[in-house]
């Protein structure tokens, strides 16, 4: 069994491969869904991920023209979310270029495969800066070096440089104009920024194409040696890798709920009686 011909790589799938190639195989080649618990406290975990999703939705609504007051009025029963929201309103959009695209997906190609990136927000000014903004709602601020090595930082900047021309008056965006900002709304809107360069882009391209080629060539996908990675992986029972970890030790910002393949809402007629 191998990866389907039209599979699109994303930061999520590449991070899976970087963390554990077996997980990549199970999720994307065998397409095995395994609904085991990720953490020992599933309901708290779910509450945090839903809050995160709600926050992203609020920002999207705001950027599409729904007035902030109307959105603020909907947050009376969730203090934490209201605090994140206030931090966003106060600092989230400061100094960003004015042309904004929220929840936009771009695609480029590499090593014969598509590579996708789904952005929370792209703020650009043709001829000027091109800023990628990613909202983070987790409770901890990671080390700069850790974040620099995450596939998200690598893939998002690379894809924008290769696929953002149509948002930049038809010109390829020079890597030096690209910056990626992670905005930690639970930390007062703290921002961790990563500049880009042509040299970094070449380095990223070599890394990404090497990974994609390795996946396409691979015949075996070994289990990770680092069993700490298994604690929050739903395939634990399949791999016989112990029990679920505690929520307090888990970095929620690393969690990807859905894979980022193209998705569609369900239609009402999908399960209607076939009749005429």
């Amino acid at each position: 069994m191998s990866l389907s011909a039209d599979f699109a790589f994303t930061q999520g799938s590449l991070q899976d491969y970087a963390d554990c190639s077996r997980r990549f195989e199970l999720r994307f080649i065998k397409r095995m869904r395994y609904p085991a618990l990720e953490v020992q406290e599933p309901l708290q975990f779910e509450k945090r991920t839903r809050q995160g999703a709600r926050f992203h939705k609020l920002v999207q609504q705001h950027l599409l023209g729904v007035p902030a007051e109307a959105l603020t009025a909907s947050l009376v029963d969730d203090e934490e979310l209201a605090r994140w929201w206030a931090n966003y309103l106060a600092r989230g959009l400061i100094d960003l270029p004015v042309q904004r695209h929220s929840e936009i997906t771009l695609q480029t190609h590499l090593a014969g495969r598509r590579l996708l990136a789904k952005y929370d927000l792209l703020a650009l000014e043709p001829g000027g800066a091109a800023v990628i903004v990613d909202w983070k709602t987790g409770a901890r601020l990671p080390a700069h070096a850790t974040l620099r090595g995450r596939m998200q930082t690598i893939v998002y900047r690379y894809v924008l440089a290769g696929a953002g021309a149509h948002l930049y008056a038809g010109e390829a965006i020079p890597p030096e104009r690209i910056r990626m900002d992670y905005v930690y709304v639970a930390q007062g809107g703290e921002r961790l920024s990563f500049e880009y360069s042509a040299a970094q882009m070449r380095e990223d391209e070599a890394l990404l194409s090497g990974m994609i080629a390795a996946i396409d060539r691979a015949e075996v996908f070994p289990l990770t040696d680092d069993v700490r990675r298994c604690r929050y992986c739903s395939y634990r029972s399949l791999c016989d890798r112990g029990e679920a970890g505690r929520l307090e030790d888990f970095d929620l910002d690393e969690y990807e709920d859905e894979d980022e393949q193209e998705a569609f809402a369900l239609d009402f007629d999908q399960i209607a009686e076939i009749e005429f």
Binding site: M32, R33, A36, K57, V66, I104, L238, D240, F264, I271
Partner: protein
């Protein structure tokens, strides 16, 4: 012919594909004439000309119809840029209502405009409909003369509400329309009044709790979101190029939206299949679709089929003509070689014959299993099983798709539900011995039926599983084997520990805990099993959606015992095992076994079709649905007109004629007819399809005699 690098186009196709980027095009024709290929090529052309992908909208009545576009875009690896949107009226209205909710909820009449909306899936609509109107139905003795079960009654009320929204009339007119067209007496008039009262009661229930069923979602989209300047600006600004495929299968609500988009977009291509419109029961309205033609600058017709052989072409035309449909195709071949049949007395003989013929096609004639479909008006479990079994034994891969298969019918789901009942004795829904045998067999790897029965007989007591040590006889223990006994013990201990700990997990969490903690481990039945994992995930997703809706409701209403109500819903067959990923899997290899209309809506031609149960009335008759009516509730219906038995007959003939035309247009070589004198349930059958085929064959025989 022109070449776009993927395939060669005719001049007519190229004219449309390469049309200017500020041109609205109407393309109509028959199935198999290459219309969708042109649509796909036009999208690629737009991308090639530098049109931003985000500004392209592919709009279809049902997602399955967008598959050729999605596949082509996924294979278009050279593309750098954004993503093309694929939407239906359902998905687009949901996104728009959700995004602009806080701007419109108050004026749309919701009682809690600062709270989030709760969009209901079909299964949740059924559930809340029951909660909302059952007290009313019981108290006032509604529908007492209608002999169908309540879930089906309620689903017809939902259907009426959806039609009102899709067609564009207020739900308060449902009763009047149905009464004036269909009620022949006081009793029937009452039934339609009752249906009307229930629809209004459910609407009120939703507005008070921020719940949106499909009909309300659509109504809010049309009446409020579309009237909201920022929402309209966003949609019009975003979608500059619109490609619409299968517009005749869409409804007036979609057509209204498209009409507006056509005014503002830069270019459009609207594709209309002249002989389709199968989804009338879902509000499809080809006449309303056709009005979009006037809004287009360039109008083209494709009548040349690239699919059918001459004999199949004549066959389609003659069968349709036999049913009073005129078909403007030149056909002079003898259609009989395109029909292959063998009469059988009993149904299983027919099923066996089908399996043998498929086997012969695959092995002796090298036909790809992907190029064969087996179709029936409805696909019962027994028929599906008979075919699946017959073909699997011959090593032939199968794709079986039935949209409304109930989750309770999937072995993995049944097992999880039985174990949930055992773990929640306070529900007072102890499973039967039969269910436990089945659950043990599925849950414990290598446990066969005989041993599962033995374990159940010896160790199941009033909804409790006793430990294996309670089997006193060593001979019996050996017969079961200690290895299986040990795994049985782990299962029983897991359940009993859950009961003793007094845990009351949410039902979806319970399923996940049981899955990961036991059933997916080595030695148990779900370990490394893709199907079981998928079904378990579907069950979890559905139960979680249910929990979220009930949690949401609990701010306005009393608490509900979620787990118990959920299990009851699954038991009633309300919950379907149907999620997006199953459709993706549907693209895989194999002979397709499906209801005829599902095949049509997948829109992929094949070499050979098998039509089963050709004596069945199901090929031409509507389902018995006394509370609703696709024609009376359509836009074209004249107020005050009466629906007669003649209309019904005419409709049956027309429906069958269109169906046969559509099927033959998706067939390249031949059609095998599966016929048995006695139906699956043992009755003689002489439906309209059988009659039509026989008349056609007799006519050819007469002509031959005269020659």
């Amino acid at each position: 012919m022109a070449d776009n690098g993927l395939w060669s186009n005719t001049d007519a196709q190229s004219e449309i594909i390469d049309a200017p980027l500020n041109c609205n095009i109407w393309l109509e024709g028959i199935a198999g004439s290459g219309k969708s290929s042109v649509g796909v090529a036009r999208v690629l052309h737009l991308l090639g000309r530098g049109v931003p992908a985000e500004s392209i909208l592919i709009f279809v009545p049902q997602r399955a119809l967008a598959q050729p576009y999605i596949t082509a875009l996924r294979r278009h690896t050279a593309h750098r840029g954004g993503q093309v949107s694929v939407q239906t009226i359902g998905s687009l209205s949901l996104q728009m209502v959700e995004t602009f909710w806080f701007l419109i909820a108050g004026r749309a009449g919701f009682k809690h405009p600062n709270d989030l909306p709760n969009f209901l899936s079909l299964e949740l609509v059924q559930y809340f409909m029951t909660r909302a109107i059952e007290p009313l139905v019981d108290e006032r003795d509604y529908f007492n003369s209608v002999r169908i079960d309540r879930p089906r009654l309620y689903s017809q009320i939902v259907d009426n509400m959806n039609k009102a929204a899709l067609v564009g009339f207020p739900i308060s007119e449902i009763g009047t329309r149905l009464k004036s067209a269909l009620a022949s007496g006081v009793e029937e008039a009452h039934i339609f009044d009752d249906a009307q009262t229930c629809a209004i009661a459910f609407r009120k229930y939703c507005l008070e709790r921020n719940m949106l069923d499909f009909s309300l979602q659509l109504e809010i989209f049309r009446e409020h979101v579309w009237a909201e300047p920022s929402a309209r600006r966003y949609l019009r600004g975003r979608y500059r190029h619109v490609i619409v495929d299968g517009v005749e299968e869409d409804n007036p609500a979609s057509h209204g939206l498209l009409r507006d988009l056509l005014e503002s977009c830069d270019s459009a291509l609207i594709i209309y299949d002249r002989d389709a419109g199968f989804r009338r029961f879902l509000g499809a309205d080809p006449d309303s679709a056709r009005r979009l033609r006037d809004r287009c600058d360039l109008k083209k017709t494709f009548d040349e089929t690239f699919v059918m052989g001459a004999e199949v072409k004549t066959l389609g035309a003659e069968l349709a003509a036999q049913l009073d449909l005129s078909v403007p195709l030149k056909c002079d071949a003898d259609p009989r070689p395109a029909l292959i049949t063998e009469a059988h007395r009993y149904h299983p003989e027919m099923v066996d014959w089908v399996a043998r013929q498929v086997d012969m096609l695959v092995r002796e004639r090298d036909v790809s299993p992907n190029d064969i479909v087996i179709l029936a008006p409805f696909l019962s479990d027994a028929l599906r099983f008979g075919l699946t079994d017959g073909l699997s034994q011959r090593g032939i891969p199968i794709r079986s798709h039935r949209p409304s298969r109930a989750l309770r019918d999937e072995p993995a789901a049944r097992t999880l539900l039985t174990l949930a009942r055992l773990a929640h004795p306070h529900w007072r829904m102890a499973p039967t011995d039969f269910d436990i045998v089945f659950a043990l067999m599925t849950a414990i790897k290598d446990l066969d039926l005989v041993r599962a029965k033995l374990l159940t007989e010896m160790l199941h007591r009033n909804g409790q599983l006793l430990p294996f040590a309670e089997v006193r006889s060593t001979a019996m223990q050996e017969r079961v084997t200690f290895d299986l006994g040990e795994r049985y013990d782990r299962l029983a201990a897991w359940i009993n520990r859950y009961i003793d700990d007094n845990r009351v997990d949410a039902i979806d969490i319970f399923f996940r805990r049981l899955f990961g903690g036991l059933l997916a481990r080595a030695g148990f039945g779900f370990h490394d099993d893709v199907d079981a994992g998928n079904t378990a995930q579907n069950l979890v997703d559905s139960a979680r959606g249910f929990r979220w809706s009930l949690d949401f409701m609990s701010r306005y209403d009393e608490k509900i015992d979620l787990g118990l109500d959920y299990v009851k819903m699954v038991d009633r067959g309300v919950i379907a095992n149907f999620y997006l990923r199953d459709w993706i899997a549907d693209v895989e290899e194999g002979v397709l076994i499906a209801p005829a209309y599902t095949f049509l809506l997948n829109n992929r031609p094949v070499d050979y079709q098998f039509w089963l149960n050709i004596g069945s009335e199901g090929w031409s008759r509507r389902l018995y649905q006394p509370l609703t009516h696709p024609y009376v509730l359509s836009r074209g219906w004249s107020p005050g007109a009466v629906w007669t038995e003649d209309d019904e007959q005419h409709l049956s003939r027309e429906t069958l004629g269109r169906l046969l035309l559509a099927l033959t247009r998706r067939c390249r070589k031949a059609i095998y007819l599966g016929y048995s004198e006695l139906s699956e349930s043992g009755y003689e059958q002489r439906g309209l399809l059988l009659e039509t085929i026989q008349s056609m064959l007799r006519r050819h025989a007469r002509v031959e005699q005269h020659v």
